[in-house]
Each structure stands twice: as structure tokens, then as C-alpha cells.
């Protein structure tokens, strides 16, 4: 009976994926999973138990997609067959859809690993079904608070789910106290990764810091330095909680034209040089998370570093387009930390003037509450606004975006409100500046990308990658 249900669920899901793609209604990453789970609720646990070597789950606020793709890249290059929920479909339906799409009833397609990026809120449900051998946690920042309540509750959700697990190993960001605490509070075996002090660290904390207080005793944490946001070297004056000594530590990070480089020290006292074709400190963290995970899975350190060099950013995440010989960058934004990183990269962009478009939607997937825009440091843009010809604000909340920029100190003469994506894209491309940068929330990203690809060619040469944030 169970087998019959699994069979029907798989056939239905595959048929739906086929139909959805045929009708051009998207990639079929969620609905087929939801129907398949209704037909056979045991689908995920049944299919995930077929994965031979183990399931790896990546969760946290930012960097899930990138980290997960990097892990999959290393494992695949090492000769493993890897199942992945590649499209960023990271709720339970998306995970079900990935299994239903990739596996068949007779189990003739065997996978060595499954790499799953999982939304924090969906983590307990997914993790209890897939029983991961390894859970990677990137960081905790504020994200879509109206859906999860508060950050503390999100972390408690993940922590309680982890406590139920046995034998699962954790890969934790040593530099984020909100993540690192999970090693002790869950009692699970943990591997830590982090970045050592370097010339770019700051002594002062930023405004959008999440955690000031010790998760164990409530004292204010003392920091020696910050990497960004609450990431850094911390210790509690009230108890013995402090930044764990990382098992995998990046040292002397250096930015090249389109890549980031560092030395990686790992426990045995060995070191390798790591180079990833992405940009920004937070992508270095993603790379270190992926590197630490694959070492934990007994990958050869030299080989893993070599495979990581061949990583390419995922489609739809910070892509470079070419419009009449000028670069256009498209970047997903979804929370203050990620938005600040995007702004930082935009300000650093070398060369001439810029046109900027910001598209803000407030559907469920974007977060219905857009208050978080006020936690983003748009004031940095005001300081260099002479370089920016125009800010085109678009999406359902175009007016609110313009309002935010006005109070950041941007002259209203530079602000254009154009709710319609077609009009907005055509306006920003027609702006005549040397470079164009488009920042969009989740549900705005896809329509904007579609419109943009009608005007501009996708540029695959990795010349000057902006950060892709997720």
C-alpha cells in the first residue's frame, strides 16, 4: 500500500513538473512537491533514506544557496552523484519536489549525497524527515520577521530541532555567536569555521547588529574586532562562552578582480591556498563553510580547494548582463545585512556614473513587512549620490522605497517612482550611465530578470562579480 502511494506520488509529481515547464509557468519547484506530499506524506523520509552516503542540510539566514551549491560542486567534482534543490526552493514542498523529480520508483538512479538548502522555519520539518548526517549553519540575521516572529524564536526553532537529532554533525560559523552557541547548547559534535583577524576588521560594531548579549548568561559580549555585523571575535565576561577556535580558518583574505583569495589553516596544522571566483567577505565565509563540510566528509583538502575554484555563481543570483556594451548587474536583496553588502559593492564599483533601480515587493516570499528597509544603511548612498544619475524605484512598494531614500538624504530630483517593472527597467537602462545596478526582492527578481534578458545579453565572462546574496 505504501509502495503504491509512493508510486502514484512520484508519477504525479513528475507529470506536474513536466506540465508546468511545458506551459511555461515556472520551473515546477514547489507545487508538485506539495501534491506529492499530500498523496504520500512519507515521501521525503522514504526517498532520502536511499541516499547512500548522507544528506547535508544547509540553513541560516544568508548564504544558503551559495554554500549549498559550493558543497555540491566539490562533491560532484570529486566524482559523487549529488541531488540538490538547486532552484532555491527551500521549504518542505521544494525539498519534496527535488526528491520526486530526481528519483524514480525503481531506484535505478542512485545518489551518493543530497545537498539541501533549507529555510530556517522549515528546518525542523525537513530535518526530522531527511535525518541529515551533517547540518551547516551559516549565520543568523533578521529576515522576514513577520513570518517568523523574532530572530530569537527562529534560533530556538533550529536549536530544538537539532536537540532531537542523534549522530548528526554540525558545521558552524565560529564568528557568529548566534550560530556558534549551537555547538554547546545542542551537545552535537561540531566543526567550526571562521576568518582570522586581518587588516579589514573594525573595532566598532555596526548599527544593524543582532546579538549583543551572551546566549548563556545574558552579559554583554565583549568584542576584540568585528568582521561585519555581529561576526567577529567575541567573548563573554560573565561566563566561559567565547569564539571557538576554528577548525577551518581563513587567514589574510585578499580580493582580486573577480575572485577572493585566502590561506586556509585547518586543525592538523596544515594550510592550503583557497581561491573562489566570487566577491565579498560573506562569500568567503560561504566558501569556508563549504570547504569545512567537505573536509568533514573526508574529501582531500588539496582537491577540495581545486574544485572550489571551479565554482560558478548560481543563475539569477547577482548576474552580469551586457546592454549595448555596458554592464548591468542584477542582485537579489532580502534583508538588511544582504542589502548593506549589495550597497557596499555598488559604492565600491570602480569607474564612472551609475544608474540604480530598486524593486521592492511585499508578497509572502519577500516578507510582507517592509520595515526592514529602515535598517538598511542607504545613507551611504547619499554620501556618493553625485555619481548616481537616478534611482528608479519599482515594485508594489515603489513609493515606500522612494520615501526611504528621501529620508536617507537623497535629493528628490534623483528619485523616480515607476511601479511597473517594464517601464522601470526600460527607464533605468535608458539612463545613459556607464553602469547599471538593479536590486530586487525575491518575487520582483524573476519578472525583472525576464524583462532584462529581453533587452540585455547575459554576460558569462567573470570580470567583476558583484556579491550574490542569499
Amino acid at each position: 500500500m505504501k509502495k503504491a502511494r509512493l508510486f502514484i506520488a512520484l508519477i504525479t509529481a513528475k507529470l506536474l513538473v513536466f506540465l508546468i515547464r511545458l506551459l511555461g509557468r515556472g520551473k515546477g519547484t514547489s507545487l508538485p512537491g506539495s501534491i506529492a506530499l499530500k498523496i504520500y506524506p512519507g515521501l521525503i523520509s522514504d526517498l532520502s533514506s536511499r541516499v547512500r552516503k548522507g544528506v547535508i542540510v544547509v540553513t541560516g539566514t544568508n548564504g544558503k544557496t551559495t554554500t549549498n551549491n559550493m558543497i555540491a560542486r566539490i562533491l560532484e567534482a570529486g566524482g559523487g552523484r549529488v541531488l540538490i534543490n538547486r532552484e532555491g526552493a527551500n521549504l518542505i514542498n521544494g525539498v519534496a519536489a527535488a526528491f520526486a523529480r530526481e528519483m524514480n520508483f525503481l531506484n535505478s538512479r542512485a545518489f551518493d549525497y543530497a545537498c539541501l538548502e533549507v529555510d530556517e522555519a522549515a528546518f525542523p520539518g525537513v530535518a526530522s524527515r531527511v535525518r541529515p548526517c551533517c547540518v551547516v549553519i551559516t549565520n543568523f540575521f533578521r529576515d522576514q520577521l513577520d513570518r517568523y516572529g523574532e530572530l530569537d524564536r527562529t534560533i530556538a526553532l533550529v536549536r530544538n530541532a537539532l536537540k532531537e537529532m542523534e549522530g548528526t554533525r554540525l558545521v558552524l560559523n565560529a564568528d557568529d555567536p548566534l550560530v556558534a552557541q549551537l555547538g554547546r547548547s545542542t551537545g552535537l559534535q561540531s566543526v567550526f569555521y571562521g576568518v582570522a583577524e586581518h587588516g579589514g576588521v573594525t573595532r566598532q560594531g555596526a548599527a544593524a547588529r543582532e546579538a549583543k548579549f551572551c546566549p548563556f548568561c545574558g552579559h554583554e559580549l565583549a568584542y576584540r574586532y568585528y568582521q561585519y555585523s555581529q561576526l567577529g571575535s567575541y567573548s563573554c565576561p560573565g561566563c566561559d562562552f567565547s569564539r571557538p577556535d576554528p577548525d577551518v580558518e581563513g587567514t589574510s583574505p585578499r580580493r582580486g578582480g573577480s575572485f577572493t583569495q585566502c590561506r586556509v589553516r585547518f586543525r592538523q596544522g596544515s594550510a592550503v591556498s583557497l581561491e573562489v571566483p566570487v566577491y565579498g567577505m560573506y562569500n568567503l565565509y560561504n566558501a569556508l563553510a563549504a570547504y569545512a563540510t567537505t573536509l568533514l566528509l573526508d574529501m582531500d583538502p588539496q582537491k577540495a580547494a581545486g574544485f572550489l575554484k571551479g565554482y560558478r555563481p548560481a543563475t539569477g543570483r547577482m548576474e552580469r548582463f551586457d546592454y549595448r556594451g555596458k554592464p548591468v548587474y542584477l542582485n537579489l536583496v532580502k534583508n538588511p545585512t544582504g542589502f548593506n553588502e549589495g550597497i557596499g559593492a555598488l559604492v565600491e564599483m570602480s569607474g564612472a556614473d551609475l544608474n540604480v533601480m530598486i524593486a521592492i515587493n511585499d508578497n509572502d516570499a519577500d516578507g510582507r513587512d517592509i520595515s526592514w528597509l529602515w535598517d538598511v544603511d542607504f545613507e551611504i548612498l547619499a554620501d556618493c549620490q553625485e555619481r548616481i544619475r537616478e534611482f528608479v524605484c519599482s515594485g508594489y512598494r515603489a513609493e515606500e522605497m522612494a520615501l526611504r531614500l528621501k529620508y536617507a538624504g537623497i535629493l528628490t530630483s534623483r528619485l523616480v517612482v515607476e511601479g511597473d517593472f517594464n517601464e522601470a527597467v526600460s527607464r533605468v537602462l535608458g539612463g545613459g550611465a556607464g553602469k547599471t545596478c538593479i536590486l530586487a526582492t525575491y518575487t520582483a527578481l524573476w519578472p525583472v530578470e525576464r524583462i532584462l534578458s529581453g533587452y540585455a545579453k547575459r554576460d558569462h565572462t567573470p570580470a567583476e562579480h558583484l556579491p550574490h546574496v542569499s
Binding site: G149, I370, W374
Partner: protein
Amino acid sequence: MPRGITPRLNICHMYPDLLNLYGDRGNIMAYRMRCLWREIEVAIHQVNIGDSVDFDRMDFIFLGGGSDREQSLMAADLAEKAGALEQAIEGGVPVLAICGGYQLLGKYYKTLTGDIIPGLGILDLYTDGGETRLIGNVAVEVELGGIRQTITGFENHSGRTCLGKLDPLGKVMAGHGNNGRDGMEGARYKNVICSYLHGPLLPKNPFVTDYLIACAVKRKWSIPLKPLDDSIEMSANSVMLKRLLGP
């Protein structure tokens, strides 16, 4: 205003390190910018745990909301300053309290398990914990300083607040408001405005900001506030009202 004197207002931002949820710092940004655009100088005093503060010297006090843990840290510190804060409020210092800050000014917060967390007891109101969170966009009809407008914002709270002998800030046109039952949102007492609205409240609703600035200015000088161009603010407001209340 006497010639040669630059008016200067002292803004007190309570616990910015702790109470920094939901973009509430936007309230300080809006207050400051709307002063600067009128050539009124502002000095922002950030008060964190353990800092001392002279509330009587302040022209505007802002108290936001935080997550549960940070809120309880803040409450313990503010309890020591309660007397001085009450005196300032009675003396007419303008105050904006949002969400957790609003609840804290009242008598108590009663949790679902029946525990009573005492508030500062400055305002005649109390809050009961609720099983569900009240979340979503809100429209509230408000009358302040003789102007009637429908303000917008976003609420996200599990506490249900009931007012004693206090006026509400306004009448809920869409959303839940104080408790989801009596159709009221927020509270007013002297120059204190309390509200559950994030969004944040002041940038989205400039007439509330101007009311608070005018209250502060009136206590020192007799100058009218220069009107500003609020077309972006008004269009953001009308988009949301159209969505919530229909055309």
C-alpha cells in the same frame, strides 16, 4: 524666533542598541530630517543600559520595541528611571512609544501562563499575552492638532492592550490595533503618543512627526512650522490606503 538664535532640539533615543527591531530607528531619522529641512538643529542623545539621562532637558523621547529577551533587559534599567520619566511626561515632554515601549509604559503585561510582568505604571493601560500574533498592514484614522488623517503602518504583536481612562491614538480602519476587539489603536496622554505601528510610523505619516515637533517647539519658542513638500509621503500613504480600504 529671536534673531540670531538657531533653534535646537534634544532628541532622546532610548536603548538604540537593544530596541532596534523592525526599522524603528526610522522614527528618529524622520524626526531629525524634518527638523533639519526646517533649519531646526537636533542633538541626538542615545541612552543605553546604565547611562544616565536628564529627561527634563529633552524635547522628544523615543522608546521602541525589541525581542523578548532584550526587552526584559531594557525594562529592568528603565524601571530605575521611571520616576524621572513620569515627571517629564507630566511636564509635557513629547514621547513616542512603539510596541514593546508602549506596553512598558502601562501597568503590567500578563503572560499566557498568568505571570504578571510589572510595567512602569505611568499610563493607565495593561496588556495580556495572546495565543496568536496580530500581524499585517494597518490603517488608522487619527486626529492630531486639529488635522484628521488616516495613517498607515505594519503591526506585529502578540500582546492585547486595553486602555483605562486614556484616549486611543485613533480608530482602526483596517488591521487589528490594540487588541483586535475594540477597534482602537494606540494611546494618547498629554504629549505622549503610543502605537503598535511599525513601518516605521513617523516617516510614513509626516503629520504625526510634525505634531510631535510642533509640541516640542511650542514649549520653547513661538514659531510656526514651515510646511514641507510631502508628495512622496502622501503617495506612499494613498497606495496603502487604496490596497486596504479600496478606491
